[in-house]
Symmetry: C2
Subunit: 168 residues, 2 copies
């Protein structure tokens, strides 16, 4: 397989993965492009390679920066801004996990906490079914929260390899 073909395939695969994850396709494709680039790319180079508009490029690069997996770099003597992706994929994983936790799990925990305060006759089977379900889900969510916090905190690889050996 030629490099050009391989690159295109990777960008496309990473894009679909992103799309399935609720990350927009273009954002994931820009990320893919930067991951395999030998050096920082400018907005124009990204536009060119992916055939997307300037506005789209700008928006999605900014979002990648928000997620903490892409950085602006200044090349001396150049007026343009250049962008580079975090290459350590463990760190990328951690950053994505942290971001998704903040957006998804944290709000859910809040809601579940509220919902535990439901009032009503404990003998009513509707109330009982509701309370039981919410309690179960709350425990699960809390557990996940604790686990993810540990993972996010422990960026060092010894941690991952410890878990890894355990699960192997």
């Amino acid at each position: 397989m030629k490099l050009q073909e391989a690159k295109a395939q990777f960008i496309q695969a990473w894009g679909s993965l992103g799309a399935q994850w609720g990350i927009n396709r273009t954002m994931a494709q820009i990320h893919a492009l930067l991951l395999i680039a030998p050096a920082a790319l400018s907005a124009d180079e990204i536009m060119e390679e992916l055939n997307i508009s300037r506005g789209n490029t700008n928006m999605n690069v900014r979002e990648l920066i928000n997620w903490g997996i892409v950085e602006k770099v200044l090349v001396p003597g150049e007026r343009k801004e250049f962008f580079i992706a975090e290459k350590d994929i463990w760190k990328v994983g951690t950053a994505i996990t942290a971001e998704r936790k903040k957006r998804e799990l944290d709000p859910m925990l809040k809601v579940l906490q509220q919902l535990q305060k439901v009032e009503g006759d404990a003998k009513d089977k509707n109330v009982k079914a509701f309370v039981d379900a919410i309690n179960g889900i709350y425990k699960f969510a809390k557990h996940t929260d604790v686990t993810l916090n540990a993972l996010i905190k422990a960026e060092e690889s010894w941690f991952y390899s410890t878990i890894f050996k355990l699960l192997k």
Copy 2:
């Protein structure tokens, strides 16, 4: 908070979570409704509670069954079909993990394996950057695969609690 209000809030929250996960909102809402129901519900009851059409109900219930988190149940003496959700949230988690792995991780692993065969001058910095990136991602993906397989296989709660204590 009254039960009706709490129910509505939970269904809405579960729906948004689903939407962010690329699961369609209605599918997640039906799932939420079944999770807190004290008994199996018919298609008509689901339509009624969520104000959705028959077609929509049918499609999404079928998809929930495909994911293995909802079951058809037959109530003696009744002609209609009734539906019930898996109430053990750990099992729900496992089923969803397994399904997503099949749809997302497995195809990605295949692609990455292919891409490692890229041909070209090892001294070309473009080739080198590509190969390095793909190798790193492949290792990460493989690792995740092994880990998830272990999680999926071990449905017993002792397993989760062992990991839990470790991470605590």
